[in-house]
Amino acid sequence: MPTATPTPPRPSEVTPEWLRAALERDGYIADDDTVVAIYLALRLEKPLLVEGAPGVGKTEIAKVLARVFDTDLIRLQCYEGLDENKALYEWDYQKQLLRIQLLKEADAPACEERDLFSEEFLLERPLLRAIRAPRRPVLLIDEVDKTDPEFEAFLFEVLSDFTVSVPELGTIRARQVPVVVLTSNNERELSDGLRRRCVYLFIDYPSVEKELRIVRSRVPEASEKLAADVARVVARVRTLDLRKQPSIAETLDWTRALLALGAERVDDHLLSETATLLLKNREDVETLRRAADAGGFVSGALERSMGEGQGSGRRQS
């Protein structure tokens, strides 16, 4: 099994072991569930649907995959009102107009409609770009829950056969099925059809152990002790009754802030002072401060054994 190859294997030929090592080399710490889900999506050539709270590393999966396979990342950011024109293709109206004007002035032979609807005037949007890519790209469809149900149905169709028909140009078939990663914050229930087509991955807030590894890998300046404190305290913070629990990004921010303050360990006072870095909601900050000011919050967190705190996010919502 190759551990470091100059040219990565084709996505459809990877092994779980290789994938895990490759992700980790790239700084993405993944547990078994994540590795296997990505692996299956690659091997079965199915889209990967990733759900989880904001900031647990959903989008990152696509980015890492693009780097690991050294290929293009094509991103389709979803939003309310996104339609086929913006997602698939559009004719360049302005350019067509200019061409007509030019032809008129140059007294050129009559311009044919065919000329105006050619490759030259086609504006490729992410989906078409992914379909026509020469190498198997990674297509990231971010926050798919933000789209309208009709667009979701359209997306479902495209993801089913990766064939697009442009009336003026004909049918375009994907040379190879792109690696598709869909992310959702579950703001709207996705359709069953879409869910069923995908390999599903739910990323929970990390366990203490995993978070420790992430902190160590992303903030290497932090001492082992500080990183361990951080991971455990954050795990305990996530058990509070909060509106929005701290995500990994916030853990990292907090760690960097602690470093900047020259802290070597965490205590209740320090936690209370820096609470705004972990929590971005006034009410939540107050909840945490109350808990920290009552004393014993940090020491309580440090006494807990490793591995606890996993799944703390699952109780939310």
Partner: protein, 500 residues
């Protein structure tokens, strides 16, 4: 007295298995429960056994309410063949990624996986244990049936009621038997009294059952008819706390709000927030569904294209704006209504930006405005409710809707506008109903609509004169469960969120 025969009525209840017939390869009553078959894929050759086991496992999932379609079954099969079968964690991850497509079902899947892919001897032990428990239960029910007699005749009681009897204390049992014995032997008490006695006993047992047993839904006794699979299914359901798993607290949806236990309040609050957030997203994006993107705004198009010499180079489109109603909530907080009000307030405030603003009033004898006391972003439920009880002068007194409405009309003129949807939360039981109806008629033409959220079950409406009286002016909806509430707001309020 001995039992003529143990009467254990079978209640043919099927769990909410959504859709999908059982997989073709595993008909429900598959013979040869293969209780000895090692269901561990680990180390097995990927032969027929693997497929069979997988299909049986999927059968279990379906009975647990996890929908799995044939395409997903094939995916799962392909998936397990791609991972290392000796690695339990990989097999689990592979099955989860292909079979479980929502987060809520994951804990259910995990429990099922642990129980189903356990070592054969563990499985056998559990099957045996279940047989014993089942026999014990049946014996207890038979005994209960034998002991609860009226003049020597058995009573018409459900399995649950018999179970409640079997599970209550020795002393209480004796008291109930005494009651039956006394009434059996009473003067002039004939067989015609049996229905009456039965009703009393049933009522008593039902009340006990609510206290003794967990509320809501209970697994049917033999979901698949296959002992091996049933053991797994029951094991999963028993070991699953109600708020995790596929049930996701959703059973609270259909429970009368006043029957939601104190301990379930946090769960109910989370459920309400989730419902409200979903609904808000859905309502506020509704206009996008109907928008016509290609409605050019000619005026702006011409103006901005003058610089191109009049060639229509840069098209401008007309934007559609959304009108959102203001909500004005008037809630009855007398006595039993307080609980409903608290839930409905939580929900309505969870709508956030989908509506233009919420004004909240509570009344019993007098009207009181509580808008300012509600935290803007829908505060924590328990605190809010308790705080309101403590602060409000009107909380929990008699009901006078007429006076309340009159003072609304007199003192809060400015809040009554044409784009206001008034939501009344009340069981329609009030003093001076006619006066109230008159006041309601005066309010009606000045607002967009009046929705009446009636907490009285619909069956009781015909018996309540005031329902028909108020329904003349207000649109009346039944609203005793959270599911009702969601529907009322979706239909009643959603109708008023539309393009201008």
């Amino acid at each position: 007295m001995t039992a003529s025969e143990p009467r254990v009525p079978r209640v043919p209840r099927v769990p909410g298995v959504p859709g999908g017939p059982p997989a073709p390869a595993a008909p429900a009553g598959q013979p040869g429960g293969s209780s000895g078959a090692p269901a561990v894929p680990a180390g097995e050759p990927g032969g027929l056994l693997l497929e069979e086991n997988l299909v049986r496992f999927i059968h279990v999932l379906r009975h647990l309410g996890v929908p799995v379609n044939p395409a997903e079954t094939l995916d799962a099969l392909a998936a397990v063949q791609l991972v290392d079968l000796a690695d339990r964690s990989q097999v689990r991850a592979a099955l989860r990624a292909t079979l479980v497509k929502t987060e809520q079902q994951a804990p259910l899947f995990d429990r099922a996986f642990d129980l189903f892919f356990a070592r054969p001897e563990e499985r056998r032990a559990r099957v045996a244990e279940r047989r014993l428990a089942k026999a014990a239960r049946e014996a207890a029910l038979a005994r209960a049936d034998a002991e609860l007699r009226f003049q020597g005749r058995p009573l018409e009681l459900s399995e649950e009621q018999l179970e409640a009897y079997a599970r209550m204390g020795e002393e209480q049992q004796a008291r109930l038997r005494e009651f039956l014995a006394e009434s059996s032997a009473g003067n002039n008490v004939g067989a015609e009294f049996q229905p009456l006695i039965e009703a009393i006993v049933r009522g008593h047992l039902d009340r006990l059952r609510r206290e003794l047993l967990e509320p809501g839904w209970r697994p049917p006794s033999d979901p698949t008819g296959d002992e091996d699979l049933d053991t797994v299914i029951e094991g999963v359901l028993r070991g699953t706390p109600e708020d995790s798993a596929g049930r996701g607290g959703d059973w609270l949806l259909h429970l009368d709000m006043k029957d939601i236990a104190e301990t379930d309040l946090p769960r109910a609050t989370r459920l309400i927030r989730r419902l409200a957030r979903r609904l808000a997203t859905r309502l506020s994006r509704r206009y996008r569904d109907t928008r016509k993107r290609h409605r050019p705004n000619m005026r702006r198009t011409f103006r901005s294209n003058i610089r191109y010499g009049g060639v229509l180079f840069d098209l401008r489109y007309r934007e559609r704006k959304l009108t959102r109603p203001r909500l004005l909530l008037i809630s009855d907080v007398s006595g039993s209504m307080a609980r409903y009000t608290a839930f409905i307030l939580e929900f309505v405030f969870g709508l956030g930006a989908a509506v233009r603003g919420v004004e909240a009033f509570v009344f019993s004898e007098q009207l009181e405005r509580i808008t300012d006391r509600l935290p803007s972003a829908a505060g924590r439920f328990s605190e809010t409710a308790q705080e309101m009880v403590a602060l409000s002068r009107v909380w929990g007194k008699g009901t006078d809707f007429g006076t309340a409405l009159e003072s609304l009309l007199a003192d809060y003129e400015r809040l009554i506008t044409r784009d206001t949807v008034v939501i009344i939360v009340s069981d329609t039981k009030t003093l001076g109903a006619d006066r109230a109806a008159t006041a309601l008629e005066r309010l009606r033409p000045r607002v967009r609509e009046i929705l009446w959220l009636n907490t009285l079950p619909r069956e009781e409406w015909p018996g309540q004169r005031t329902v028909a009286l108020f329904a003349r002016t207000a649109t009346m909806y039944e609203c005793s469960t959270l599911a009702h509430l969601e529907r009322v707001i979706r239909l009643g309020v959603g109708r008023h969120i539309r393009p201008a």
